[in-house]
Symmetry: none
Subunit: 198 residues, 4 copies
Amino acid sequence: MNLHMQRRTVNPVDKKARVVRAARRLFVQHGFHNTTMPAIVAEAGVSIGAIYSYFPTKEALARQIHDETLAEFMLFFDLRLAGRTACFDKLAAFAEVVLETTERDPELMEYLLFMRHDEFMPGLPPICFTGPFLLLQDFVREGIAGGELRPGNWLVSAVAYTGVILRAAELHLKCILTEPLAAIREELIADAWAAIRA
Amino acid sequence: MNLHMQRRTVNPVDKKARVVRAARRLFVQHGFHNTTMPAIVAEAGVSIGAIYSYFPTKEALARQIHDETLAEFMLFFDLRLAGRTACFDKLAAFAEVVLETTERDPELMEYLLFMRHDEFMPGLPPICFTGPFLLLQDFVREGIAGGELRPGNWLVSAVAYTGVILRAAELHLKCILTEPLAAIREELIADAWAAIRA
Amino acid sequence: MNLHMQRRTVNPVDKKARVVRAARRLFVQHGFHNTTMPAIVAEAGVSIGAIYSYFPTKEALARQIHDETLAEFMLFFDLRLAGRTACFDKLAAFAEVVLETTERDPELMEYLLFMRHDEFMPGLPPICFTGPFLLLQDFVREGIAGGELRPGNWLVSAVAYTGVILRAAELHLKCILTEPLAAIREELIADAWAAIRA
Amino acid sequence: MNLHMQRRTVNPVDKKARVVRAARRLFVQHGFHNTTMPAIVAEAGVSIGAIYSYFPTKEALARQIHDETLAEFMLFFDLRLAGRTACFDKLAAFAEVVLETTERDPELMEYLLFMRHDEFMPGLPPICFTGPFLLLQDFVREGIAGGELRPGNWLVSAVAYTGVILRAAELHLKCILTEPLAAIREELIADAWAAIRA
DNA sequence: GATGAATGAGGGTTCATTCAT
DNA sequence: TATGAATGAACCCTCATTCAT
């Protein structure tokens, strides 16, 4: 490869990342089966051959998007949890991460909330059975044990808390709850907490 | 009509209904674009020609399923509302209908919660902007005005209440919240109410 | 069959004729393969089952139309030839029949000129090899032998005469030669005759 | 590029041209609706995908064939007209082009004479209303004005001249007029001219 | 590696024909 | 005999994937 070509070529890492970004945007917007490889080519500005040099199949591309997206969200949650010990604070960390991510990177949140990943990964557990959500269930169990939350079925309490927060994110992404989430964050966290506190 | 004939012939109304049932089951399970007409043929036990004599296109079939499903749910909600006047009771009617329908006719509820109808009806408002959900928003507004609910953004309160209930239905359908919903109905309604009551 | 039914039923002969008429109209207009049986049903106002009780297949229907149409044209020609002996008069009989039929029963002439009968009767000789046209070739041969026509290839002379007349009919049916054919009949016959007379 | 590769690869221009050739042959032979895409695939020796990479639809393929064919014929006519001024010579140019093309590229002439292009281009004017034929009508008008042709309806005269020539081409293509057209060219041109000369 | 023209299985849909009524 | 709902082979077309360059 000569200098002339180096000037015209993109860093392969960036190129792969561009493919992933473009594909996730299209998958979220139109669904997996309604997104064609040529559409990804057009959105990402790379050749079809390049995509197939990074991923063996369209499904493998989708799988990588899935894993990366979940990992990114888990990372945000982990960072936000640092130093929090009270049940209220740990649950609020979840709410904050969900609401802030919804506004900062809507595609990520749309992916978590709406993507039908069973279209390309049959048999995979649903997203609400993954890291952040399991962690939150732990917090609820501890909260009940510690008397901060009302006694009862801990799974029901976890459902209630996450239901309030996630539905707000969902309706915001669907342009039904049009207020900035930052403006109603406190009210949402208060409502979610009221649903399950002792 | 004698018995011999009964065995070989199907009432056309039943046949069309069989197609609708089979198609909804498959649409909900695999999504619109991942459900092929041959798959519907196999599931419904009718010929492809018969389906196209009932519906001009696959999309028209999906549209009819959509309309029927929404109308059926709205009917259940209307019936359950009869005679209820207190805010708590009217909101509870919504919760009861959602939770009971989830167990009695899971496909109907899966359709309402998971179907991406924008795959075949681009531009249509999301389901959470249809009849039952708009009605529920009215009840919340009245509840705040009447002092039964905490003051605040009424849309946020509606989001909180429905979030608790719908997420329970969602996780039950995904086999994560495995308890019979009838068993946790009171707890869910209590949590949802606690989230927004005065 | 009781009186009540007689009032509601059509003479089967008429019904069959209606089918033939409707089918020929549609075949001429849209071609054989672009005419559907349901379209014939709609045009003829009979049931699909009735058509299949008259004709075993769509092709058999087309064949009968073909035979009837050719026979009808041959009949007109025969009648017009009665009593004509001079070469000019016999050729003029052909021209008159073509031009008058074009205006009186355009569908018949469209059929003769434009129908691609090889779409449903592969291997059949073209229409210009059938009765009236063979007859006309005989007249030309006689005309040359009798000195009324220029010596030369008799087939070429037949081609020339029929070419003038048939192209006029063709362009009239295509709405390019819009004058009433009756008004230019003499001129056409004169031109055709001039092309080949001694 | 070595010999081995040449055997396995086709110039894309040739490939597209092969498709056009094969399709025109089949369209002319069996008509548009009676020619299936698989048949074109077999005739052209390319994949169905390749065809659809050249033309968005079967109709677009037919349209391109139509345009190319008309343009090619018009070009021949233009070239042949060069330097001709007398009415007889200009009309003879038309006759020569028609008769020679009929023998040199029968498919082209069959297309012009027999193709029902309204099957795929509804509303398009018939071929006899296109370039060469309009030009010929001009020549006839000038010939009448200049006294070289008999007075009368100029359209009728144009019909007469073209009728003689085109019917000869038509019957030659249908294997009825089996003589080589080159051998009867002079006689045909003489007959056509005799039909309309002063 | 990167490219994109080419491949062909499989999609949605049509329509000639059948057969229970 | 007449009806028309039902059948399914075959249509046109799409798009994930390959491979010569």
